[in-house]
């Protein structure tokens, strides 16, 4: 019998058969794992609320043929409770989970940095220290950066000429100089670009002090940038709510 142990964040659950669920977990050492949790939908299941999305769990898994099987689960941090208690946090958090699944396309390929980023993001979201949409945008930008898609904000994404150019071209990968600017580029406010930079760096005092309109513009650009480079739409983004 081949068993292994790992900790992870539950990203998604899908119903399976009468009372089982398939849980998708982003783990610290193994990467993204899909496993069957037997009987988890019964009210007297031994797993209880441990395998709900957002939960940070310590798992024991049994290697199966196509899907692994969860044999034991212990909660490390139940982030789901504080997140589901606030609707704006819940919608932002769901978009984080969906993105975490998309930026880890290969199952069982270790992605430690993505895991640590998600844990940090959920902890911040659950604490309610910052506006949930800001936490989401910071997470999305950094998840893209870890995946190799850092937006270029201080030099032209095409020719590399330095300077904070005013046009932002999603397909090019960031700001573009007047010479390289393709048709249909966005022209965000300078403050918006500064906010994006602050979110990437983790400069929270700057981000918390930003104006609503710049936050909104940032969210729009980040969403477009994310979905273009992942070549996939993130369904939850449509339902993310502002406070």
């Amino acid at each position: 019998m081949s068993l292994y142990r790992d900790e992870g964040i539950v990203l998604r659950t899908q119903k399976l058969g009468e009372a089982d669920r398939i849980v998708t977990v982003l783990t610290r050492r193994t990467g993204r794992v899909r496993a069957v949790a037997k009987g988890v939908r019964r009210t007297r299941s031994k797993f209880g609320a441990r395998l709900e999305p957002f939960t940070h769990v310590d798992l024991q898994l049994h290697v199966g043929r196509s899907l692994d099987i969860v044999t034991q689960a212990e909660t490390l941090r139940p982030y789901g409770e504080p997140i589901a208690a606030d609707y704006a946090r819940y919608t932002a958090g769901t978009a984080m989970l969906e993105t975490a699944e998309r930026v880890t396309p290969v199952e069982k390929e270790p992605v430690l940095r993505q895991f640590l980023l998600l844990v940090g993001g959920l902890r911040t979201l659950a604490s309610g220290e910052h506006e949930s949409r800001l936490v989401l945008d910071a997470y999305l930008l950094r998840a893209l950066a870890v995946a190799g898609y850092t937006p270029s904000l201080d030099s032209c994404a095409r020719c590399g000429s330095p300077g904070r150019h005013r046009a932002f071209a999603v397909p090019a990968g960031g700001v573009v100089c007047p010479g390289c600017r393709p048709a249909g580029s966005a022209a965000p406010a300078e403050e918006t670009l500064r906010l994006m930079e602050a979110l990437l760096r983790g400069d929270w005092p700057h981000a918390d002090g930003s104006e609503q309109r710049h936050r909104q513009e940032t969210s729009g650009l980040v969403a477009a940038y994310l979905q273009w480079h992942l070549e996939h739409s993130i369904r939850s983004l449509r339902l993310v709510e502002r406070v």
């Binding site: 609320a49 769901t94 339902l239």
Partner: protein, 199 residues
């Protein structure tokens, strides 16, 4: 592979939830061996259920008329409304014989990752029912999982300005279980919702 209609039957049965190819084959051969009258009765019920059953125009529970049995019953308390996700939750609550009010079936729970938002559920209809001022208490009985909790939070926030008492079903320890096996979230909820023992 079997010939013609036998294989068709196996394919149809195999498309049902929880029925795999082996089970489909077993059921098919059971039906072949069964008395004709029994099979005819099954076929008749299958057709009837699609012809007769529809969704109640008030609460969206399954019904055989315009309105379901609960909505038609004048003895049910019209001032208490219980919100559930699916018609089968109505059956589960009815079995308890504890609740004498009426129901509202949402048709699911808010789950952005599956593309289900508030507009995809029967929330507008719920708000219309609440607006007629007959209802004084709204009991939110969505599933005690993440989507159900988030849906409850969303509804509570929506109803707050309406001066209606909003309650949520209690969460806690299942009757007949051992305390040591309860997970932290459930046990924490049980502590939060503890009640006075008045003896």
């Amino acid at each position: 592979m079997y010939e013609g209609v036998v294989q068709d039957l196996i394919d149809e049965l195999g498309a049902l939830p929880g029925v795999g190819p082996k089970s489909a084959q077993r059921i098919a051969f059971y039906l072949l061996a069964a008395e004709e009258v029994d099979v005819r009765r099954l076929a008749k019920v299958l057709v009837e259920v699609k012809e007769k059953v529809r969704f109640c125009r008030v609460c969206a529970n399954v019904a055989e008329d315009e309105e379901c049995r609960v909505c038609q019953d004048p003895r049910r308390d019209p001032s208490v409304l219980c919100v559930v996700e699916e018609p089968k939750d109505v059956v589960a609550i009815e079995k308890t014989r504890e609740f004498r009010g009426r129901y509202h079936v949402l048709g699911g729970a808010i789950s952005p990752i599956d593309g289900v938002g508030p507009d995809d559920l029967r929330i507008k209809e719920l708000m219309a029912r609440l607006a007629d001022r007959e209802i004084t208490e709204l009991i939110i009985a969505t599933d005690p999982n993440l989507e159900g909790e988030a849906t409850a939070t969303y509804l509570a926030r929506l109803v707050k300005p309406m001066d209606i008492k909003v309650t949520r079903l209690a969460s806690g320890l299942p009757v007949g279980g051992d305390l040591e096996y309860a997970d932290e979230v459930t046990l924490g909820r049980a502590f939060e919702g503890r009640r006075l023992l008045d003896v």
